[in-house]
């Protein structure tokens, strides 16, 4: 690993305001240290924020406020999360391994980088995310695990986080502290589509630090996270869905549908939600919503299987959330 200048800070004021170029915050380190050892990340300055007191999880206006340094384990095992946001708990427990969940912070999880092998291996010459203008190795090469939604000619890298899928389904808002003050950005808008600039992944300004994730009161207390993968544990999603339904008298009053393993960002599907809202909670409705969610998919040869797979994942998750049998 290349050497770097190391700063250790004790509070938010000490952390913010570092020049963005060549600077990285160190929290759990599970992405950053790995990518530094792979020579993908080459920061000149690393600011260690592990001692900054930002790990509190508190009740907030009927919802919850999660400090950005709360670990995935801490959030998954918190009573408020189990009670109000079951799909987030399930997504966290289906993520990574116990060791990684103990280390990884929620703020870091939101900043997690793609697992696309063309990004992670510097021996591959083409990756627009790692080396803008060099081309997309995955599009012409192996792309079984890469995205089918939100892709561009420049990049098809999948977004790897499970937790972020549940977080966008629950309308999470990030609090960002910068040298010029604090601002709030919905997670849905924080993750940027690749377009022609896949190297720009987040709406994060120079010197800004994620300090908290706030979840508003959920539309319903039932929620499901369904994840399909090559192994039963310790594997990234091929396809996943976080769904929350409010059903009254057999009619869907409100719906949240978000997808993982298939998008270049945690993929919220307003199309599926529109197809569900006001409709009876039946298998037919769920199938219509699933088709709507995938209507804009642009699969390639190796990942075309993700279209029917994801439709089935959505239908099954909705059936579980609504308590409907096939």
């Amino acid at each position: 690993m290349r050497p770097f200048a190391y700063r250790r800070v004790e509070d938010v004021a000490g952390a913010v305001g570092q020049p963005g170029e060549g600077h990285r915050f160190l929290a759990g380190g599970t992405t950053l240290i790995d990518l530094m050892r792979l020579d993908v990340e080459r920061p000149a300055v690393v600011t260690d924020i592990t001692r900054v007191p930002l790990a509190e999880i508190t009740e907030h206006e009927g919802g919850v406020r999660i400090g950005a340094l709360a670990s995935m384990t801490q959030v998954a095992e918190h009573g408020l999360i189990a009670e109000r946001y079951p799909a987030l708990r399930e997504a966290l427990l289906a993520s990574a391994s116990q060791q990684l969940r103990n280390m990884a912070s929620m703020g870091g999880n939101v900043m997690q980088r793609t697992r696309c092998p063309y990004f992670r291996d510097v021996a591959f010459p083409s990756c627009n995310k790692r080396d803008p203008g060099s081309g997309c190795g995955a599009r012409a090469g192996h792309h079984r695990k890469q995205a089918i939604l939100g892709t561009s000619g420049a990049c098809i890298a999948e977004h790897a986080s499970d937790a972020s899928v549940a977080l966008v389904a629950y309308d999470a808002v990030l609090t960002l502290q910068g040298p010029g003050g604090e601002r709030e950005v919905p997670l849905r808008e924080f993750n940027l589509l690749p377009g022609d600039t896949p190297q720009v992944e987040h709406d994060l300004r120079e010197g800004e630090l994620i300090t908290a994730l706030t979840l508003p009161a959920p539309i319903a207390r039932s929620g499901v996270y369904l994840k399909i993968r090559d192994r039963q544990s310790y594997e990234f999603a091929l396809s996943s869905a976080a769904v929350v339904l409010r059903v009254e008298g057999g009619i869907i009053g409100a719906a949240r549908v978000a997808l993982g393993g298939v998008g270049t960002v945690p993929w919220r599907s307003p199309e599926a939600e529109a197809a569900l809202t006001g409709q009876p909670a039946t298998l037919e409705t769920f199938q219509t919503a699933a088709r709507a969610a995938l209507a804009g998919a642009e699969p390639l040869e190796e990942n075309a299987f993700k279209v029917p797979l994801t439709e089935r994942v959505i239908v099954r998750a909705l059936m579980q959330a609504a308590g409907v049998d096939a």
Binding site: P3, A5, R8, I33, Q99, N102, M103
Partner: protein, 170 residues
Amino acid sequence: MTHSVWEAPETGELPLSLTVNGVQRHLTLPVQASLLDTLRERLHLTGTKKGCDHGQCGACTVLVDGQTHLSCLTLALSCEGREVRTVESLAGEGGALHPMQAAFIEHDAFQCGYCTPGQLMSAVACVETGHAGSEGEIREFMSGNLCRCAAYPQIVAAVRSVAGGQGEQP
């Protein structure tokens, strides 16, 4: 705001104080040193193994403040003031084996043994943190520890036996 910042003047070596297996240690380390390399190369605690060095195999699992961590992905300097436990802490006075070590032998829970130190630390944490209630729960808690000899059924049996075997069947 500089009062709260502890900053390396240059990219050289920096001091670190931490507790390893109950002993206070004071070291001077290169900034990029991992906890794993520090344990093995500087403290000569070679029980903790380096497998992939990328957080994928679990051979380097240690306990940091009581929770399983991957020491290969842990920057040593981030452990200032923390308590680290390695496999060397398990055996008692005179080399008496920890119940989990004895159970691994009893249940034939390894072949080559390379992953065993990491398996033991996860297994001890699995029981200590109350995640050994069922075979399924043990398998999920332990899934970050790969065993290329595929001793998984025996590892699960060893953990169950230490947990009291009171868990439900899968």
